[in-house]
Symmetry: C2
Subunit: 294 residues, 2 copies
């Protein structure tokens, strides 16, 4: 795979301008899959058939797909292989691809993770990382992103109940811990011509004020807002995430778009692709209403 | 693979009593491998040949092996498959197996990671986890460990320069952040008959006083001390980690035992197995001197 030449921030800006801020999350649960993707006795082929079908359905109405590594790793090497195949298919369709891997390590181990997800052979444009090991844990990922025209999304402020106790703790002299880490990222940023760069953040859309604070701390960082739909997040959360050009944020929906039958209780049926597309269209309409400038 | 019936803490105690506290870290770098394990054009077979050879060499003189997932993931599905094969071989030889995966997520994603590493089909006895997402990020791993007789090692205090700023930050009412997280783990602990349980921690052996503090915070938790050898850690660090029975800690050496030729500059040569074993024997002798009770 050739190295993407352009700055990640600019590439994502192009994708969002063309197809909007929706990010479709692929978190496959075997029990939830439609019948026509099941490949008897071959979980790798099953995951691949499903993921590639989703990619086909969403490719012209989403900027990004986010593959949740946990749901592939649990199926071992076959799952890993399926994950890479789906990401390659998505990239071939022009989607920006994110590995939701939440990796975290230091030194050569962090460099190896960065190589796995951001190296020249990776089908991913970006990876999510966790900052618990501090700045020297982030540096190998930052360097790999800058080197290869790829990106990272650092999990700065998550919306789960247990997160506040850690992430909002006050540092001695630099504000809440997650904001302080955000400033470390911002200092390493190299924005492209869009004004946006490679070093973004994951910020829970349901945490009051967090999105606006993240926008201030990371003026050139893309914000990935998870939790649209199933986790109770709405489209309005994107508004404070946007920069003056109306760019700067993508909104992830996983279950609510990819498995709409989990909400309405009806079996996926043979027209499941239409239902996925309808859920994405509704999300895009919702996002469009929220972000339309008066 | 059948579910291990015994409490993880007790199983690790048996292994350490029988073969000592050395944990051999398998972090394979293609450039460092001895010639006789190279399988032309097949990185998976190469990693597997190397890892299984290391397992054979160390099996009767170490309690544990720790496989660093980063160095396998960078080789995609072939690497993942090799990692699982090596872990199976180690487990078949009676070694306790640790996946150094540093995983971190919440809800169903964390449960999927826990299933990948601690599920009934996993060849790993334990996995390292990162606590940035707080208590609800740890719970799925804790539950899986208790359910299956497996363990976790939570990265509480790492020894890299950037760690102090995060991990030692003072919470409003519960001391340094990492100690507070340690108390959360300790509250969920279920010690076995050895007095030790499933919920351990990774603590940098080169951080002054951190090992003794971790011992106090996690009275029933195994401590995994990385950094012996190559990272400047010595055997003395284990002393404050031990409980009254002289148990409670394992000491990891990766490069210094598995790739001793990186220190002395001589090619691995055909007798590389002997050099690995000699390095492990020297480490065990060093640990024995440090822990011998007067």
């Amino acid at each position: 795979m050739t190295t993407p030449a352009a700055n990640f921030g600019d590439r994502l800006a192009d994708a969002v301008r063309a197809r909007g801020p929706a990010c479709v999350g692929i978190d496959p649960r075997p029990d939830w899959l439609p019948e026509d993707v099941l490949r008897e006795g071959d979980i790798g082929a099953t995951l691949r058939a499903h993921g590639e079908a989703v990619v086909e359905v969403v490719a012209d109405a989403a900027s990004t797909v986010k593959l949740n590594c946990a749901f592939f790793e649990r199926h071992g090497a076959d799952g890993w292989s399926a994950m890479l195949s789906i990401a390659r298919a998505a990239r071939a369709r022009g989607l920006v691809t994110i590995a939701d891997a939440k990796r975290s390590d230091i030194g050569p181990s962090a460099a190896a993770y960065a190589d796995a997800f951001l190296g020249d052979d990776s089908p991913f444009d970006a990876v999510t990382v966790v900052p618990w090991l501090g700045e020297d844990g982030l540096t190998p990922f930052i360097d790999a992103a800058h080197r290869g025209g790829r990106g990272i999304f650092c999990v700065l402020r998550s919306s789960n109940p247990g997160a506040e106790r850690l992430q909002e703790v006050e540092t001695a002299d630099d504000g809440p811990l997650w904001e302080s880490l955000g400033r470390t990222l911002a200092a390493a940023e190299k924005p492209g011509s869009s004004g946006l760069g490679a070093l973004g953040a994951v910020v829970g859309a349901t945490v009051p004020d967090a999105v606006a604070r993240a926008r201030r701390v990371l003026p050139a960082g893309w914000l990935l807002l998870p939790g649209y739909g199933a986790q109770g997040g709405g489209a309005a959360a994107i508004v404070p995430a946007l920069d003056e050009a109306g760019l700067g944020a993508i909104v992830n929906a996983s279950r609510s778009v990819v498995f709409p039958w989990r909400a309405d209780g009806e079996a996926p049926g043979p027209s499941w692709r239409d239902r996925v597309r309808a859920a994405l269209d509704a999300m895009n309409s919702d996002l469009g209403s929220a972000t339309r400038r008066e």
